[in-house]
Amino acid sequence: MSRRVDALFATARATRRPVLVAYLCVGDPSVEASVTIARALLDAGADVLELGAPFSDPTADGPVIARASARAIAHGSSMRAAIQVGAELRKSSEAPLVLFGYANPIVVAGERETVARVADAGLDAMLIVDLPPEEGAELRAEAKARGVDVVPLLTPTSSATRVEAARAGASGFVYYVSVTGVTGALREGEAIDPLVAASHAAARLRAELSLPVVVGFGIDDAAKARRALGDAASGADGVVVGSAIVRAIEAAGSDVERAARDAAAVIAAIRKSL
């Protein structure tokens, strides 16, 4: 179990301060720039960073993050680079850091070896999109031994048995996916607001699993963040902002200063309103 993750959510709960999780795709526009942008996100009020390790075939991601992943790979980024960026950030920050990625780079590099690298770099958790609780036994055993959380994903399609499957070995926090779809895919104007539904699901899951729950997918502004958070007592513990940050970085092109400023502005605006 990660000390930093537990402490952050405990404090957030005690002070009724929603947790803001920021995602960035490491290596877009360059690995070096990702360190600068990550620091700007933390300064702007992000509590947790998800360091996205780019994968060539990101089947759970929408076009924004898929494009960023392709650019990052072209600029020499990888899972190894994402872990190195985490190590660099750890020198100056105690914020929880989550390695976010897909199974293939981990299986190719070795499940144990990857967890060891993650732990040695001072990262707190891993979230592997295509590794449901039934898979990755070796990775999970090593993560437990090294105090690295493996964050489970739950979704609107998750039945009681899927929640039970996630329970075994879950630690740190739960990532609740607000929609059935890819990242950035929230559709507005539906009869039941998926973000409000997500806030209710998050509250239920927190009670069932005794773990904090953050809601992600499609949250790109303060109003959506507030809907997902619900009211402080019965909503989610936090929200994840991903595609909106990646979009701001994309729009800045190779201008790293602008990328850092605009990505930070996305987080700052949400932080301010919470």
């Binding site: 994968f55 060539s56 075939d57 990101p58 089947t59 759970a60 929408g62 898929a66 392709a70 790979i73 990888s78 899972m79 190894r80 897909y102 199974a103 293939n104 780079p105 981990i106 299986v107 190719v108 590099a109 999109v129 295509d130 590794l131 449901p132 039934e134 898979e135 489970p152 994903l153 739950l154 979704t155 609107p156 399609t157 998750s158 039945s159 899927r162 996630a166 996916v177 059935t180 779809g181 890819v182 895919a185």
Partner: protein, 420 residues
């Protein structure tokens, strides 16, 4: 109904030895569990089997013939010392021109019985797309097919066929713009529309239960071939040969022979410009163990785990992964995997066309191209006067554009036979 490693056993979660499993986003797990229930309960039921087998006979045109290939046999081994008889299992004569329809008609029937309202599929050469579009037209279900932009261009006749059958063809412009990218996009569609949509996977790949389901829908090829060979020759063959992309036609013909220890199994992968170059799709020959499209198996990827864009002249083999059961058959030594290059496949198309009067798909031609190496392997194992059966998985009408361009440049430039 299951092979030795028995992924049909619910306790082993779709594993063939160390390969297989279910590596997907959590959103899809309930849909795969639903499909697994249908595979265990609906698929083996008498009512499903009766309807599906009936359609294989009356709609697909099964059983397909087993044809003796005497003129190719003479070319390969004039004396008959090494090769005494060569047979072709004629999946090219199935309705829509390839083995793909066995699977598509079975899966779409299953989807209908599961109450699904919409079918999606990915396709490389377009054969699975055409087969799925056909099955959807037959059952009256809407069909959308994802196809890489590059494949849309090089398999234009199949794109036109899908449209005629009422399917919507969605050109995928990401990545290598081929089969793997079509599969990525189909998975994104499925994750978004999972409640209403059935994903009809075209190969014996993907997350559990697809590799087992597709094998069981294709094993009719091997069941027929085994019975036909016994009836014609009075004995089992020395070798069964099939091309391998994802591996559905190969696993279909291999499956009923797996327990026949005396029958050697050969899969032939796409060697592209040569397996010593970086332009090939020989996943088992040159890949490493990884995870792609929901299963642990061999993949073509770099040291960072990024998938390498494969290359093959045949769109249907142009895939950087392979079905997990083939990975296990290779690991256990039960099957042997060879490769054939683009040029060898082209030459084989020409040979079989001119010597047997059969225009093969480029995919299928890889298996014929590897026959000299199969015979070498059989001789090395002390088997002379061999009986060999090759799975003729599909016909080559779809490849006429490529064939005219590569084999007869003069007539192509004079405006005949182009794909457009």
């Amino acid at each position: 109904m299951s092979s030795a490693s028995s992924p049909a056993d619910p306790r082993n979660r779709g594993y063939f030895g160390p390969f297989g499993g279910r590596f997907v986003a959590e959103t899809l797990v309930p849909a795969l569990e639903e499909l697994e229930r249908a595979y265990r309960e609906i698929f083996p039921s008498e009512s499903f089997q009766r309807e599906w087998r009936g359609l294989l006979a009356d709609y697909v045109g099964r059983p397909t013939p087993l044809t003796r290939g005497e003129r190719m046999r003479v070319l390969l081994d004039p004396s008959g010392e090494r090769l005494s008889a060569l047979f072709y299992k004629r999946e090219d004569l199935c309705h829509t021109g390839a083995h793909k329809i066995n699977n598509a008609i079975g899966q779409v029937l299953l989807a209908k019985r599961m109450g699904k309202a919409r079918i999606i599929a990915e396709t490389g050469a377009g054969q699975h797309g055409v087969a799925t579009a056909t099955a959807c037209a037959f059952f009256g279900l809407p069909c959308e097919v994802y196809m890489g932009e590059l494949d849309v261009a090089r398999q234009a006749p199949n794109v036109a066929r899908m449209k005629m059958l009422g399917a919507k063809v969605i050109a995928v412009s990401s990545g290598s713009r081929t089969l793997k990218d079509a599969m990525n996009e189909a998975m994104r569609d499925w994750v978004t529309n999972v409640a209403t949509t059935y994903y009809c996977v075209g190969s014996a790949a993907g997350p559990h239960p697809y590799p087992s389901l597709v094998r069981d829908l294709q094993r009719v090829i091997g069941e027929e071939a085994r019975a036909q060979l016994l009836s014609v020759t009075g004995r089992l063959p020395d070798a069964v040969v099939a091309c391998v992309g994802g591996g559905s036609n190969a696993i279909g013909i291999f499956a009923p022979f797996v327990d026949d220890a005396g029958v050697a199994l050969f899969g032939v992968e796409a060697g592209g410009l040569g397996v010593e170059t970086d332009k090939h799709a020989a996943t088992l020959t040159k890949g490493r163990i990884g995870v792609l499209h929901g299963a642990k198996s061999y993949v073509l990827c770099d040291d960072d785990g990024q998938i390498i864009e494969p290359h093959s002249i045949s769109a249907g083999l142009d895939y950087p992964g392979v079905g997990p059961e083939h990975a296990e058959l290779m690991r256990s030594g039960r099957a042997t995997y060879l490769s054939a290059t683009d040029d060898e496949a082209l030459a084989a198309v020409k040979q079989v066309a001119e010597r047997e009067g059969i225009l093969l798909a480029l995919e299928t031609a890889h298996s014929v191209a590897a026959l000299p190496r199969v015979l070498d392997a059989l001789m090395a194992a002390g088997r002379s006067k061999a009986i060999v059966v090759v799975n003729f998985s599909g016909r080559g009408d779809k490849d006429l554009g490529t064939l005219m361009e590569r084999l007869q440049p003069e007539s192509a430039s004079s405006g005949e036979g182009g794909a457009s």
